[in-house]
Symmetry: C2
Subunit: 492 residues, 2 copies
């Protein structure tokens, strides 16, 4: 036990030791039934007399905080009323440097939506604010067995550092799944990451420096916007329509802003749900090549299609190493596993690999091995089919409920895949004003302005996740949303 004592202090050593232990016991950080070190041991650890420690223990025992059992040791007793140490957050006296840190602090508003929902106190809240699909769909029992088998098979290797770019069999498995999706990648060009968030993070770090400009679809994934801001990048938005990014307007922006990166979600876009048209995909790559700008393609749910034709990924259309492709198992399979990946060609791959190592050395090998054992192409395809069926039904349920329960004046393009309905509110309504009213009714959504580069535009939009709830909840949630909208209109 490394108790901080000061031998030069005027306070007697036994009292310093006693104070430390007393504070720990009262605050609960030294929990009841914990055995304190033997007097002889602690005296040796701290370089003090044994009597000094004995005196400290004796005082604590006299005050009823510890209990000595002959030949067994000294144990912490339960404290009747624990005056918990409050979180150390005095405002006045922090070191000065902490103030400048605060200035650079960007807290995402998206996280706060479900806090509002839960503090609104509805007995049975329904969230349409989630960015992921429904984890309850995942066959947890099967995965548990696979994890067991992997640990029995690999023993201690399952817990050692793995290869720098990820567990090789998993990278091969990913290459097979990608090939079945129309993207042929060599396992050596795949880097395993902690979810697609880390993939976006690494690509940003490697490609840009503070002050650089990123072109993004307007609107776009809010956590990517938060990330770009936190890293000191400027974002410029490209308008969208029902065919995705308006690539016709791209060249002008490229000439005007000299961006260092184009970040795009071409398939079942977050938040709008649109797919970039085939012609625009080819044009986008041509322009990126002509202006020498890398494309970061975020294909977070590219395979989750309910109707229409499959579009190849941008990466599949790019022979020249222009596109960095990121995707994930997290969104569709299991958020908590935190496994995503990057596909990249050329020198940039080694930079990404190197930066991955500097930021967290490696992603848990155990989880990678389990995922490898679990996700075969066949199993993935089957899981995808099942999920697509379930989520298609939920989408249809939501569209029907919108038709039934929402007031006229709303509008949207029915999404052909993915997770989201992007809905335009009636003219008089503002998303941020609607949110607290909706939360009181027991339903949440993400206000549209969270997805815009200025954080202000887009107040007439809301994003609804139709995939995260069973059908009954989808219907009930939209019913509540309708009530909230009508309340707002009445108050106007």
């Amino acid at each position: 036990m490394r108790i901080p004592i000061n031998k030069k202090s005027d306070i007697p050593l036994y009292h310093q030791i006693e104070s430390y232990l007393r504070q720990g016991i009262l605050s609960g950080s030294l929990p009841p039934d914990m055995r304190l070190p033997a007097c002889r041991q602690l005296a040796q650890d701290l370089g003090v007399n044994r009597t000094t420690v004995e005196n400290a223990y004796a005082k604590l025992e006299a005050d009823g905080l510890v209990f000595s059992r002959m030949g067994s040791g000294t144990y912490v007793l339960p404290v009747n009323s624990i005056p918990a140490i409050t979180k150390n957050n005095r405002s006045a006296s922090w070191p000065l440097w902490q103030a400048s840190v605060q200035d650079r602090n960007i807290v995402s508003k998206a996280d706060m939506v479900d806090e509002i929902l839960h503090t609104a106190g509805h007995p049975n809240p329904i969230s349409f604010a989630s960015g992921i699909s429904d984890a309850r769909q995942f066959p947890i029992e099967e995965f548990r067995k696979v994890l067991q088998a992997v640990m029995r098979r690999d023993q201690i290797s399952a817990l050692e550092y793995g290869e720098r770019n990820g567990y090789a069999p998993l990278r091969e498995g990913i290459a097979h799944i990608l090939a079945s999706q129309g993207l042929q990648a060599h396992p050596e060009n795949i880097l395993i990451t902690a979810g697609s968030q880390q993939a976006i993070f690494l690509a940003s770090q490697v490609l840009l420096k503070p002050g650089d400009i990123v072109l993004v679809e307007e609107p776009t994934y809010s956590v990517a916007l938060d990330l770009f801001r936190a890293l000191g990048f400027h974002t410029v938005g490209i308008p969208m329509d029902s065919q995705g990014m308006q690539v016709e307007n791209l060249e002008k922006l490229l000439q005007q802003h000299h961006p260092r990166l184009i970040y795009t979600i071409p398939n079942f876009h977050n938040p709008t749900g649109t797919c970039l048209s085939s012609a625009r995909r080819r044009e986008l790559i041509v322009l990126a090549e002509r202006y020498n700008i890398p494309i970061l393609e975020d294909d977070f749910v590219g395979d989750l299609r309910y109707e229409g034709h499959a579009q190849p990924s941008l990466k599949a259309l790019d022979p020249g190493g222009q596109v960095i492709y990121v995707s994930t198992f997290s969104k569709m399979l299991m958020p908590g596993l935190r496994v995503g990946f990057i596909v990249a060609d050329g020198p940039v791959f080694d930079s990404l690999l190197n930066f991955k190592r500097l930021s967290d050395l490696a992603t848990s090998t155990l989880i990678q091995r389990a995922l490898d054992a679990y996700v075969s192409v066949g199993r993935y395809q089957a899981y995808l089919r099942r999920s697509s069926q379930t989520f298609r039904k939920r989408r249809d349920t939501m569209l029907k409920a919108i038709d039934h329960y929402l007031p006229s004046g709303i509008s949207f393009d029915p999404p052909k895949g993915g997770l989201f309905v992007w809905l335009r509110l009636p003219k008089s309504l503002s998303a941020s004003e609607l949110l607290p009213v909706a939360c009181k009714e027991g339903v949440s959504f993400v206000p549209g302005n969270y997805f815009f580069t200025d954080g202000i535009s887009g107040k007439e939009w809301i994003r609804l996740n139709f995939a995260a709830q069973p059908e009954e909840a989808v219907t009930e949630g939209i019913k509540r949303l309708g009530r909230a909208m009508r309340k707002m209109s009445t108050h106007k």
Copy 2:
């Protein structure tokens, strides 16, 4: 299947589909026995005629690449000789932006040591180059059972996103372990990270911007140096002696360089193994406060003590939020689990939390839950006692072997804890010249210059990890090192 086809191309559609599949089969990315989508399905996916797909499949079948089974589907056949697609790394024609990425690429030399060892071809190589302890010590079977129990208990919650700062019971458990080590921290001031590497990374990102200066011990942890370089920081070294960082020289450096951070490993320092003296600890904190500079304390093996008195962590001596404390379960317990943590007070905690979220959203909840169930204070203390006994013996074995088998002229301070012996070579020897010779003899170490800010100084030093090998291997490794040293001297 999202095959990239171009409807405006002159190449017939059936041929485009056939080419894609052929390439996938020949390269192995569409593996043998994989079932291709039904013709009707693929035609619908791609928006082409069914006959188009049938023609493509027929051509592939005629060439012996696929096999159709009536009523069951079309399957990929094994290819006799697979001309694997080579990793896509043509040098000439990458987009121009890739060149600038390459310039910013810093690859750590430390990773290459064991590559040299393994390509040297000794039948039974012994590595003293590792930065971690011995994973074989870990009771994997016990942990497997705990992991099982956690998945049975928590079901799908074990795989969902958890709290933003980490699984609450684990944070409480860490608070208890820290208190038993003399550091009282509130669980709300603890942030779970992907190993201590991510902890260092987050603190750097939050506290500094490119061009800023970091004060580090000279020498220091090489991956931290790599990280600081990659993020565009400058490093200034503070000399060390047997009592750790020469704090007497600190004030001068603070005035001269205006650093934005002091990075220090006060306990069983990497690579030197020294402990910062008690007086210097207090002086360091006083100076950091006076000059308004945060201290990043890396306590990677602070508890792994074999003799001498326990020193409190800097964080325990710091009442004012000056010190950011990082530590890990990885080094001592299980590298592959990738779980570390930060303790920080004041506004900087929220910045760290926010940046953690932006860089990878969260660390795997499953592993956090398992670790929580596995690591009680009692179990941790027991594991620590056992490890300390084992590693103390290995240290003693290495010191004895050094005495027996290394030539005169070497010198070192025997470490009182941790993992490393930091050894000064005889005057005529250079570590980087010794390394390939030693690897041929079947033993590796890390050359001292890897730990110096300029990457050049310190060639007369080597770092030996005594904890990662059983005692016989430690002795045998030092024997080999002695042979290598004598070979070098003879050649001079």
